[in-house]
């Protein structure tokens, strides 16, 4: 009988050994998948035992997200508190039990809960667990300048829109504001959440305060897109800044006249102009003509060099960053085939083009930084609970948008816009400011999205950015958006020179 007993013993031991294999599978191989499941209540509760890292603004002092400890039946739990009640609300996001997470709180959750695979963090975490102390997350220091951020949110208060300001040489994001904002402390309670969703706002339809208009808001770029069209023209080698055009006050496309926009002084006609003048005075007829000659494909290829068609790699959840480009409105997706597009109207930023304020800030940054776009960064560094730096974010190139010579020519043209064109409201005494206005038509008559993209100082750019303000009745980019840009540039340049 012993032969049979040995075989049965082998079967019994193999059955038990398979349990060890299966346990290993669930606890190591499948653990991250299960941890990410939406209905994983254990994970959600367990995360509240961790003292999440704090989120600081660039000064390292202003706390955007902190914790409050609550003694419960199973020990101390830590809940999020947002001491600034909504400064950079959509960027910081929230971390709650009921509604999970959003913004940086979501995207950088691994750092904030010290679950990141950094060797030092793992050892700290292990020793904290062994000592039975609370696991402390890593802190984040953002690039957001609290003063300028506050200024931007104040300027946009009562309006719907967004502002993005960044350093074109490093990609550090100084300001990212989306109006209306919200108080993240209200998210957890259902009454508070409802009050956020139902808050009154200046924009018709849904106010959507949770929506980050800076990275998700899709607007027609209007004339700010002429920067991309001009770059396409100059990079093609077929045009120079001095190329001559004739402006009859309209351009003819598909046999139909497309008239110049009602700029500040009504419909205009400039006659013989060069590309510089056409850009400074934002002449639609010239760009329409130029667009038809270049073709939709050439314009879109250049747009792709600027990062269109891809979501800028920034420290926000992928679902909160939209790509820019020509959209099929009905299906809410990008159009791949240039053949269905209208090159003339697209050349001055209309037709089916939709862009995010972040993307347009990167267009300005490309001109400012000799044609190179740096990867935008909201996070400056990650520090552990004792203040030691765990990760320092270094500048990285994202795109080569155009030739340096093209960037230099556009720099001059954008300075001309502020000196003597449509963007004079952005002038700062003693500082060379470059910019481009945009007054984008919307589906409603006489209602525009007011745009301004900018950088300064033009000879040594420290800041670049974009302002977009929605639903402006007869409101022009130069009049609505440019003054906000001026305020932000002044504030940041003043604080930067002090450093």
């Amino acid at each position: 009988m012993n032969n049979q007993i040995s075989r049965v013993a082998m079967v019994a031991l193999l059955l038990l050994a398979s349990l060890i294999v299966a346990t290993t599978y669930w606890q190591s191989w499948e653990a991250p998948t299960l941890a990410a499941k939406q209905d994983n209540a254990i994970q959600r509760v367990a995360q509240f035992r961790i003292k999440r890292g704090l989120i600081y603004a660039a000064d390292g002092k202003t706390v955007l997200a902190a914790n409050i400890a609550k003694k419960g039946a199973g020990g101390t739990l830590y809940f999020r508190r947002y001491p600034k009640h909504g400064l950079a609300s959509q960027v910081v996001g929230y971390s709650t039990q009921g509604r999970s997470r959003a913004g940086i709180e979501r995207q950088e959750n691994a750092y904030l809960t010290a679950a990141n695979a950094n060797l030092g963090t793992i050892f700290d975490n292990l020793s904290e667990r062994l000592k039975g102390t609370t696991v402390k997350g890593n802190n984040l220091v953002l690039n957001l300048r609290p003063g300028a951020q506050w200024l931007a949110e104040t300027a946009l208060r009562g309006k719907c829109g967004a502002a993005v300001v960044l350093n074109p040489k490093t990609g550090q994001v100084y300001v990212m504001a989306s109006s209306p904002g919200y108080d993240p402390n209200k998210i957890e309670s259902s009454a508070g959440y409802a009050s956020i969703l139902n808050s009154p706002s200046a924009c018709p339809g849904s106010a959507s305060p949770l929506f980050n208009r800076a990275t998700q808001g899709l607007y027609a770029p209007g004339s700010t897109f002429k920067t991309v069209t001009a770059a396409a023209a100059l990079d093609s080698g077929k045009y120079t800044p001095n190329s001559q055009f004739y402006d009859p006050g309209y351009c003819t496309e598909y046999g139909v006249q497309v008239h110049n926009a009602l700029d500040q002084n009504g419909p205009e006609q400039f006659g013989n102009v060069d590309l510089i003048q056409a850009f400074i005075h934002s002449i639609n007829a010239v760009f329409c003509d130029l667009g038809i000659k270049l073709g939709a494909k050439a314009i879109l290829d250049k747009a792709k060099d600027f990062g269109f068609y891809s979501s800028p790699p920034i420290e926000l959840p992928p679902s909160e960053v939209a790509p820019s480009g020509p959209y099929n409105f009905a299906q809410h997706r990008l159009i791949d085939n240039p053949g269905v597009l209208d090159p003339g109207r697209m050349a001055f930023g209309q037709d089916k083009l939709l862009v995010t304020p972040l993307q347009m800030a990167l267009v300005a940054a490309a001109v400012a930084n000799d044609g190179t776009i740096m990867q935008p960064h909201l996070v400056n560094k990650v520090t552990n609970s004792s203040g030691r730096t765990v990760v320092k974010v270094h500048p990285q190139v994202w795109k080569h948008a155009m030739k340096p010579a093209t960037a230099a020519a556009l720099n001059q043209m954008m300075q001309g816009v502020v000196q003597s064109g449509t963007g004079t409201a952005a002038q700062i005494s003693g500082v060379k400011v470059a910019g481009k206005t945009g007054t984008a038509e919307t589906s409603e008559q006489n209602v525009y999205t007011a745009w301004f993209i900018f950088f300064a100082p033009a000879d040594d750019p420290q800041v670049a950015g974009a302002i977009a303000v929605e639903h402006q009745l007869n409101g022009f980019g130069g009049a609505i958006a440019a003054p906000i840009a001026k305020q932000l540039m002044q504030a940041i340049l003043a604080s930067t020179s002090k450093h």
Binding site: A9, L16, W26, A31, A35, A46
Partner: protein, 440 residues
């Protein structure tokens, strides 16, 4: 014998291992105390002291009755009950107290069995039909009106006043004794596969299966079937019996899947615990994601295991409730105790626990190999295989290797009948081992 004089005797070895288990139990309760100071008192350490004393008493009985028995089984059983009671204590203090009482009953019956059968346990062979009929009677007990109780869709419990027990656990031990005796007697005849000899076997086995399937106790059904096949194979050496048995079982399984709603549900949960779209939810009659409905337990238990990771949350530091105290996993201290342990002890601890189960099974099988007579071999192998298969069925169900069926984890789960029955199993193994070693 000469070699043994140089080392510790079997019983002294057992004492040393029990001391190690005692220290481990103390550390376990201390860590629960440290982690949950707000909820438990220093009195918890009293449990550790009490357990140590209880096992010393069991050891002293073994010293007198089975001096030559295997020295590892009692300490391993002690370790498993200690791990179980520590975790049960951590999950709920009152259940741990009840479990403690059951362990006292278990040790008392263990001592009684050793004492009563110390001369020759093989007298049991003479009463084999009594054991066979007893096994069926015990299985039928919960169906008797007035004393049977239905819990979670299965009618498995018997209650007398406040006292509840699950006779199926004892029925398992009885059936193994019957099979060992019957198969020893008829093994040569059975190998010829004549209906006259196979008949009584099939009748008793068939009756058990009928009761189990009709009472929705699929886990026990699988367990009995496995034990039956393993013992039949050991007795007859006919692999064809095993293959035929497995084919029959699979055919029956497919039939049950088609016809019996309860079985269909278990298999569906096993194959597709998560759905992305809402499906029909039988308990509410509405639509819900399956992970929020039928497979709620399994899915939550997997989350618990995964949350343990490599090192575990630590005894007393796992998450089993929401922040407002709502329990996340039902039956956490019985059917799902393994997912609680896996979360708190991590892969390291869970694998160590499973290794103890493996060592226990290996020692049991070694006893079967060393035994001199067919009855002893079949008894030891049957008891050990039953122990191993029961562990596989519940932990394998929790780990989604097989469909999940409610059954206890030997020595660890909360449940009086299970603990007591497993102490009887332990007594049986020690008796066989003592005889095998003494006659050597």
């Amino acid at each position: 014998m000469g070699a043994r004089a140089l080392t510790l005797s079997y019983r002294n070895r057992e004492l040393v291992y029990l001391a190690v288990v005692g220290v481990l139990t103390g550390i376990g309760f201390a860590s629960v105390y440290i982690a949950r100071q707000s909820l438990v008192s220093w009195g918890s350490l009293g449990y550790a002291v009490f357990f140590f004393a209880l096992y010393i008493a069991a050891h002293l009985v073994a010293r007198i009755t089975v001096p030559d028995a295997d020295p590892y089984l009692l300490p391993m059983a002690g370790l498993l009950t200690a791990v179980g009671v520590t975790e049960i204590y951590r999950l709920g203090v009152s259940d741990a107290f009840k479990q403690g009482l059951w362990i006292v009953v278990g040790v008392a019956l263990f001592a009684l069995a050793l004492w009563g059968l110390r001369r020759d346990y093989r007298v049991l062979e003479q009463y084999k039909y009594l054991f066979g009929i007893g096994a069926i009677a015990l299985l039928f007990l919960p169906r008797v009106p007035g004393i049977g109780t239905t819990v979670n869709g299965a009618r498995l419990w018997v209650h007398f006043g406040n006292f509840t027990f699950q006779p199926g656990e004892f029925s398992k031990v009885f059936l193994i004794v019957f099979l060992a005796a019957y198969l020893r007697e008829k093994r040569e005849l059975l190998a010829q596969a004549r209906l006259k000899d196979v008949g009584p076997l099939l009748v008793i086995w068939g009756a058990c299966m009928l009761v189990l399937v009709s009472s929705n106790d699929l886990g026990s059904g699988l367990l009995y079937f496995g034990i039956f096949l393993a013992m039949l194979y050991i007795a007859t050496a006919r692999l064809s019996f095993v293959i035929a048995g497995i084919v029959l079982f699979l055919a029956g399984g497919v039939g049950a899947y088609e016809k019996i709603g309860h079985v269909h549900e278990r298999v569906t949960i096993w194959l597709h615990p998560w759905t992305t779209q809402k499906v029909y939810c039988p308990p509410t009659g509405g639509l819900a994601l399956r992970q929020d409905c039928e497979s709620y337990q399994l899915v939550k238990s997997l989350y618990s295991i995964a949350n343990g990771g490599f090192g575990g949350a630590g005894l007393g530091k796992g998450t089993f409730a929401t922040t407002d105290g709502h329990q996340l996993i039902p039956f956490i201290n019985s059917d799902f105790i393994y997912s609680a342990l896996a979360q708190e002890l991590g892969l390291v601890g869970a694998a160590a626990l499973l290794l103890v189960f493996m060592l226990f099974a290996a020692r049991g099988m070694k006893i079967a190999l060393q035994a001199d007579d067919g009855f002893s071999k079949l008894l030891a192998a049957g008891l050990t295989f039953g122990f191993a298969l029961q562990t596989f069925i519940i932990v394998g169900g929790v780990l989604r290797i097989i469909p999940l069926t409610g059954i206890t984890l030997p020595f660890v789960s909360y449940g009086g009948s299970s603990v007591v029955a497993n102490f009887l199993l332990l007594a049986g193994l020690l008796l066989v081992s003592d005889r095998a070693n003494a006659t050597r």
